[in-house]
C-alpha cells in the first residue's frame, strides 16, 4: 500500500475501496471525498493520523499509523527509550491535561 503524503503515514488502496462512504463520515479533516467508483483523496496533507478511517473501513483499503501524538509523550519516550503512550505523559485519566 502506498503512502499518500510525505508528512504522514496515511496509506490508501483505491482498488480495495467499496465506496461505502464511511470515510467521509469519520474523517474530521475532509481528507477523502466521495468519488465515482472509490473514495478519492482530497486533502492528504491534512491527515492527523487519528485512525478513525482505518478502524472503520470495512474493506481495509485505508491504513495509518495512529497513536498518541502529544509532544510531551514523544519527548519523554525519546528520553526514556520506552513506548510512547498516554501513561508516559501522565494523562491516563489522571492528573494532567489529556494529549
Amino acid at each position: 500500500m502506498e503512502t499518500v503524503s510525505a508528512i504522514n503515514t496515511l496509506r490508501y488502496e483505491a482498488e480495495k475501496c467499496a465506496n461505502c462512504g464511511m470515510f467521509s463520515d469519520v474523517c474530521p479533516h475532509g481528507v477523502f471525498e466521495p468519488g465515482e467508483m472509490a473514495a478519492s483523496l482530497a486533502r492528504p496533507e491534512a491527515c492527523m493520523e487519528c485512525g478513525a478511517c482505518a478502524v472503520n473501513c470495512p474493506t481495509g483499503a485505508i491504513e495509518v499509523d495512529s497513536g498518541v501524538g502529544c509532544a510531551y509523550a514523544l519527548m519523554l519516550a525519546a528520553l526514556r527509550g520506552g513506548e510512547e503512550g498516554c501513561d508516559s505523559c501522565g494523562c491516563g485519566g489522571g492528573e494532567e491535561k489529556c494529549c
Binding site: 492527523m48 478513525a52 509532544a71 519527548m75 498516554c86 491516563g92 485519566g93
Partner: protein, 323 residues
Amino acid sequence: MRTATTKITGADRWDHFLARWGVRRSEHRVEPGLYGVGRPTADSPVFVTANYTLSFDAVRSALAGIDGYVLVLDTQGVNVWCAAGKGTFGTEELVGRIEATGLAEVVSHRRLILPQLGAPGVSAQEVKRRSGFAVEFGPVRASDLPGYLEGGGATPEMRRVRFGLVDRVVLIPVELRHAFWPGMAAAVVLYFAGGWPVAAGVAAAMLAGIVVFPVVLPWMPMRDFTSKGFVLGGVAALPFAIALARGGKGATWQGWVWAAALALLAVPVAGFLTLNFTGATPLTSRTGVRLEIARYTRPMAAMAGSGILLVIAMVVVRAIGGR
C-alpha cells in the same frame, strides 16, 4: 435509568470553569450509564458520549426539546476525542455498556448516534456484529445535534473539526496552570541572578507561548508550531533585551551579555511551550510532531543551555569582581 435535564446551571458552569483550569482534573465525572432526556419512548434516539462533565453537558444541553437517551461510557473523566485516541471511548466499552444498561430492552430500534470524534476508538462494524446495534457517526460538535436530527444526517460542515478562536482560547487556563510554578521558579532565580528585565523578559516569552500563541495560531505564516513559538518568544522578550542592552546609565558590555542571555532563554522556552501545544490541538499528526521534535530539540537545548551558561558566567564574574 437515570434522568438528565437539558439545563446548564450555575453549579455546572462552576464545574466547567474548574475543569478548564485543571482543578481536580480527574473528578469532573458523570456516573456512566443510561440517562433519559425529556420524555423518551422506545423509538427515541440514543446518543453516546463520554463521562467527562464538559462532554456530557454539551450533549444534554444540545438536546433541549428533544426526547432521547444519553448512553454515557466510562472514559475515566476524559473527553471523547482523547478517550477515543487511547481506546477508552472504544468498541469494548460501548459493547459492554450496551449490555450493562440493558439498552436492547429499553429501545425497540437498534441505532446509536456517536460523536464523530469518537470514531478513532469505535469500529462500527464490530459494534454491529457484537451488539446488534448500528453505529451512526453524528456531528463533530454536540451543538449540531438538533440540525443533524432535523436534516437526517450531517452536512460536510458538521463533519469538520474547526478549532476556532473559542476552542483555542479555552485551553489557555490549563496551560497557564501547568507553567505557573516552573515559570515562577525561573523568574525568581533570574531576578536574583540578573535583575528584573531578565526575569520579566523570560516571563513575557512564556506568556507569549501560552496566551498569545493559541489566539494567533492560524494567522502566523510559519508551518510548524515551534517556529511560531520562536518568533513569539523573541518578539515578547525584545523590549526587555533592548532595555538591558541600553542599560540604565548607558550601554555596558554586561548589558549586552544579559540581553543575549535573555534572547537565548526566551526563544527556546516559548518554542518548547508551543511545540507542546500540538498535543492539545486536533490538527497535528504524530508523524508531524515527531519531525518537529527531531528538528528542534537540539537547537532548543543548545540555545537554552548557552543562555543558562551565560547567566552562570555573569553571576560568577559579578561575584569575583565584587560588583
